[in-house]
Symmetry: C2
Subunit: 167 residues, 2 copies
Amino acid sequence: MSADADLAAAPDPLDPLDAAIVRELALDARATYAEIGKVVALSAPAVKRRVDRLLDRGVIRGFTVRLDPAALGWQTEAFVELFCHGSTSPATMRAAIARYPEVVTASTVTGDVDLVVQVRTSDMRHLERVVERLAAEPFVARTRSTVVLSALVRRPDVPPAPASSPG
Amino acid sequence: MSADADLAAAPDPLDPLDAAIVRELALDARATYAEIGKVVALSAPAVKRRVDRLLDRGVIRGFTVRLDPAALGWQTEAFVELFCHGSTSPATMRAAIARYPEVVTASTVTGDVDLVVQVRTSDMRHLERVVERLAAEPFVARTRSTVVLSALVRRPDVPPAPASSPG
DNA sequence: TTTGAAAATTCCTGGTT
DNA sequence: AACCAGGAATTTTCAAA
């Protein structure tokens, strides 16, 4: 086994039938097993068994609702980049950041910036308050905010498999 | 009516019962109406009527599956910032960017950068190819990539309502 | 192993109060 | 909004490929 096998460990590609089922669930997670079965040419019980197995394996983490952020009052969105003090553990960062309901994603990244935090707020005033609070976190040296003007693509769902040889 | 009323137009806040229903659906979109009803103290038919109404109003856009990107072979993630040539319309950008299956989100933003594109790829090599293709788009002057080291928070679901007076 | 069919249970979804 | 009833969907069991 090569030294970087763990780093590059690629999971088994998804069974074509499982992939098709996942695709249908991505489109409508409340579809009946019979409906999904009609598309993938399987009986309802067979579909259910595969979905249960996907759930057990952790490929499917659960089922959610797709909501309209604007309709719910989240009208502004921004990327807040955090420059952090030298020795802050990711766990510490996570604990602090996770307390903000405005945070959609937070990622440690390569480069000058240490943390990229994606936030959604009701308006500019609200965004300002969130940025101020983030800037006041003990491990944050300074922040840089980038406000989203328009959401060109929003595709939070994961495609069933990486595109083969893109380019 | 003030001049900026349209810009700041805040939608009606969600009925507390609707908010609770949405919260339950966010947790498990395949929960039965009876199960949801038990939590929100409503009968199953009452829950269904409210969900249908939320669907009609566009507050709920649909139901999806929550997947594990890594289990599906999407192991690396990055923010690719695009510096674009002066007069490119968002529509043109959108059309070009939407063709990439690797793109999760794409947003026009304020600041030096014109476009922030969030991509998910199978590995570093794949990411490199995607960045090269993006850089080769006619409207792109140059790119700057930031690779995600670890996903601290991943909360794609929209909370029911903006937190009231945070801070 | 994984499937399809059938049975029992539970759920959905109208109409009514 | 709750209740009720008829029709569907779910889920377990079982037998076959």
